[in-house]
């Protein structure tokens, strides 16, 4: 075989390869193919993870059924009537709002402050960030038990410490007192979830051009003025999103409250999700529990719509 023949063969192979590649790209560029390999899997996941359970819950809410029995009896909207007529439901709704509102405020203030601190360059910055991240990485149940341990009135470090420095005279049963249980649960859950706010805010802080601050410094602005006129306006968008997300998530929060107090003492921390759980697993009324969940779902949607309508956060979020 001559060298010319070899060149021809190579050239031919390259040409065929090029042609095959073009065909693949052309195939992939077709709209229905792109939709099939990008959107369809995500949509399928969304349908099975979100829509099917939502549909199942709404369907279950229209039936009377025990949690332990697969036999369902159609009851229409009567479960909704019973739930809406139950004072315990409205009490739990108030507790949910209290818990969600309190948690968002604490997490926002603490998360924002922490982000401003760790945004600065200092020695051990990475270590501080890692430590701040730790509670978020610990499973909620474990963090809850740690909270119970350090908050215990007999051997917990918090009461012991406060008594030693003279802040309190006798140990406080943080999770067992009607007065303290809700604040204690809010603070414990914020201990875990504050870092989410920190991460979001920190990401935004690091994208603010340094030149803004340099220009402000040249113009004679002090630290507070720089925060008010540069940092805060740039953070508005992320704050709106964080408030919405954390508000919804804390409103729906179940696990940490369940571990810390189980909804007690008495009804002090019986939030709506805990109320729903009790209806499902104690009263064994799956239909009613589903109706409760469906009502909470509708309330959250209405809350989100109102939030967007009134505060228009989308105007604050910069799309770049």
């Amino acid at each position: 075989m001559s060298l010319t023949d070899l060149d021809d063969k190579t050239s031919h192979s390259i040409s065929r390869l090029q042609s095959a590649t073009d065909s693949i790209f052309e195939f992939l560029s077709r709209k229905w193919v792109m939709i099939s390999i990008t959107v369809v899997p995500v949509m399928a996941l969304f349908v099975f993870v979100n829509l099917v359970p939502i549909g199942w819950t709404i369907y279950a809410s229209l039936h009377s059924t025990s949690i332990y029995s697969p036999e369902w009896t159609w009851t229409g909207l009567s479960n909704y009537g019973e739930i809406l007529g139950d004072p315990a439901f409205w009490g739990s709704l108030w507790d949910s709002l209290l818990f969600a509102g309190g948690s968002v405020v604490v997490q926002l203030l603490a998360g924002l402050s922490l982000a401003l601190v760790v945004n600065r360059s200092f020695r051990g910055e990475s270590l501080v960030r890692a430590i701040a991240m730790l509670p978020y990485l610990i499973p909620t149940a474990i963090l809850g038990f740690i909270g119970l341990w350090i908050g215990n009135s007999q051997y917990g470090i918090i009461s012991t410490l406060l008594m030693r420095i003279g802040v309190i005279e006798q140990a406080i049963p943080w999770y067992g007192s009607i007065d303290w249980a809700m604040p204690a649960v809010i603070l414990t859950s914020s201990w875990k979830f504050t870092i989410f706010v920190t991460i979001m805010v920190l990401a935004r802080l690091q994208s603010i051009p340094e030149g803004y601050y340099e220009a402000a410094t040249v113009s004679g602005a002090n630290a507070y003025q720089k925060f008010r006129d540069i940092t805060l306006p740039n953070l508005k968008g992320v704050i709106f999103i964080v408030v919405l997300l954390r508000g919804i998530w804390m409103f729906n929060k179940f696990d940490i409250i369940w571990v810390l107090t189980g909804g007690g003492p008495k009804d002090a921390t019986t939030t709506a999700p805990i109320y729903a759980y009790n209806v499902a697993f104690n009263s064994t009324a799956l239909g009613k529990a589903a109706a409760t969940s469906a009502l909470l779902f509708v309330m959250l949607i209405l809350g989100a719509v109102l939030y967007f309508r009134v505060l228009s956060p989308e105007q604050e979020v910069r799309v770049e």
Binding site: Y68, S177, G262, G263, P265, F281, A285
Partner: protein, 473 residues
């Protein structure tokens, strides 16, 4: 103590035969299972094929699976259940799929999933209260064959779960409400309500950092179990059952209300010698070991075991005592009974074979060693099995013969809320789950409200909790 209400769910149809067999004595226990030997191709009483292995003669269940769900996560218990599963497979050819759920409700979540999906587990380790509710709901399946076979071996168990003539639970073990006190702190045993209070007050006045007792007042199951121990010691009942599911709450009725008022009044007295304890529930099982109190209660032996495990120098001074009563010793107390149950739609034959297999002396002996004297075997005769006697003899020195005897005696004087009524109360779990009894105690002690008013306020709420579950039947 006379107790006309006590119900062990007696399966009276075959009592005579069983008692005769039980009367054959302990000598038979050691050789009950796994020693019958015989032809590998033999058939069992139902005519099915059997296999003979080192474990004895058992039905051939090759190709079948037993799904066993248990809310237990500790390694020793997992190892124990795994061992039984392996042995069962070797004996019958059936696979045992163990599913471990965390304690505190996860098993109930999972059970609900499986039942709603029409795929119930073959076996669940469950409380007598839960099994009663599931039987009443028509979800659980009877286990008469396995139950009768095991009763033929050991005699009647201390507690049973019988519903409309059928047995629904193979007893596994019991935790009995026991009291523990420091003999080096108490001058005389707190064996009655009165001596506990007077001694407790003396200890409280000494102000040595230890409370006279540890009365749980946090919201939760253990707080309610403890309250019910005190209630039963005064013959104060929660419910009456007029048949089937016709269960009524009677804490606010007649002389029973008076006894409840006495109990809550006594709880108010104990509150004064018990520290705050508003956040103490099941975590109060370490009250004595942590030196918070010189006297404490728990279902099982944890108060003492904790002192031993923590190598406290006073561990040998922690003595057991039965439930004190008003003016009397060794009163009736509260307890828990767990057992194996199965479900309609599951492979009940395989499930019952497993239950029968499980009820071998060697496994009860192992249970005793996992947590000494904490889970008490459901059959009195098991204490006479040589291996169990040896196990008890090898307990840490802090466990005295007197302690062991007190625990054995206590097994005769406890009931569960399900067994409080005759017939069985299927709503005991619903009452505990509602946490209303925690609220009763909270208001009477922490809030210091009048006991009579507390009773009258909460009685309708407890009835409501019962009625809600009744609606789902």
């Amino acid at each position: 103590m006379p107790n006309s209400r006590r119900n062990s769910g007696c399966g009276c149809n075959s009592v005579n035969r069983r008692r005769v067999l039980a009367g054959l004595g302990a000598a038979g226990f050691a050789g009950i299972a796994g020693c019958s030997g015989g032809d590998p191709t033999a058939t069992d009483s139902s005519g099915g094929p059997t296999v003979t292995s080192e474990e004895g003669e058992w039905p051939d269940l090759s190709g079948q699976e037993v799904h066993f769900m248990v809310d237990e996560t500790s390694d020793p218990w997992r190892n124990f259940f795994s061992t039984v599963a392996s042995d069962f497979k070797a004996a019958t050819g059936a696979e045992v799929r163990m599913e471990y759920q965390a304690t505190g409700g996860d098993a109930e979540d999972r059970l609900a999933q499986l039942l709603q999906a029409g795929d119930p587990p073959e076996i669940l380790l469950s409380s007598v209260s839960q099994s009663a509710q599931l039987a009443a709901q028509g979800v659980a399946a009877p286990v008469n064959d396995a139950f009768n076979a095991v009763v033929d071996r050991y005699g009647e168990p201390r507690q049973q779960m019988q519903w409309e003539g059928d047995q629904y639970m193979m007893p596994f073990g019991s935790n009995i409400g026991m009291f523990f006190y420091r003999t080096d702190v108490y001058d005389e045993p707190p064996s009655t309500w009165e001596t506990l209070l007077s001694e407790g007050r003396r200890i409280e006045e000494e102000d040595n950092g230890m409370h006279g007792t540890s009365l749980f007042r946090g919201t939760g199951f253990c707080t309610e179990l403890q309250l019910m121990s005190w209630a039963y010691s005064n013959e104060a009942w929660v419910c009456e059952n007029n048949g089937g599911t016709d269960v009524n709450v009677i804490i606010d009725e007649g002389s029973n209300r008076d006894r409840w008022v006495e109990v809550l009044g006594y709880m108010q007295d104990l509150h004064t010698i018990s520290g705050g304890n508003e956040d103490i529930n099941c975590n109060g099982s370490t009250a004595i070991a942590n030196e918070n109190a010189a006297h404490g209660w728990f279902v099982g032996s944890r108060q003492k075991n904790q002192a031993i495990v923590q190598e406290k120098d006073f561990a040998e001074n922690v003595a057991l005592i039965q439930q004190p009563g008003p003016g009397q010793e060794a009163a009736l107390t509260n307890g828990l009974t767990d057992g194996l149950i199965t479900y309609k739609g599951a492979d009940n034959q395989a499930a019952q074979t497993y239950m029968e297999f499980f009820a071998q002396p060697k496994y009860f002996t192992q249970i005793m060693s996992l947590t000494p004297l904490h889970i008490i075997p459901p059959f009195e005769g098991i204490f006479d099995i040589p291996e169990v006697e040896e196990q008890l003899a090898n307990l840490p020195d802090a466990w005295t013969d007197q302690d062991i005897q007190v625990m054995r005696d206590a097994t005769e004087d406890y009931i569960t809320m399900a067994g409080e009524t005759d017939p069985t109360n299927p709503f005991g779990g619903a009452i505990y789950g509602s946490r209303i009894l925690s609220d009763v105690l909270y208001d009477a002690t922490i809030e210091g409200q009048d006991p009579g008013s507390v009773i009258d306020e909460y009685a309708p709420q407890i009835q409501e909790a019962v009625d809600e579950v009744k609606e789902s039947l």
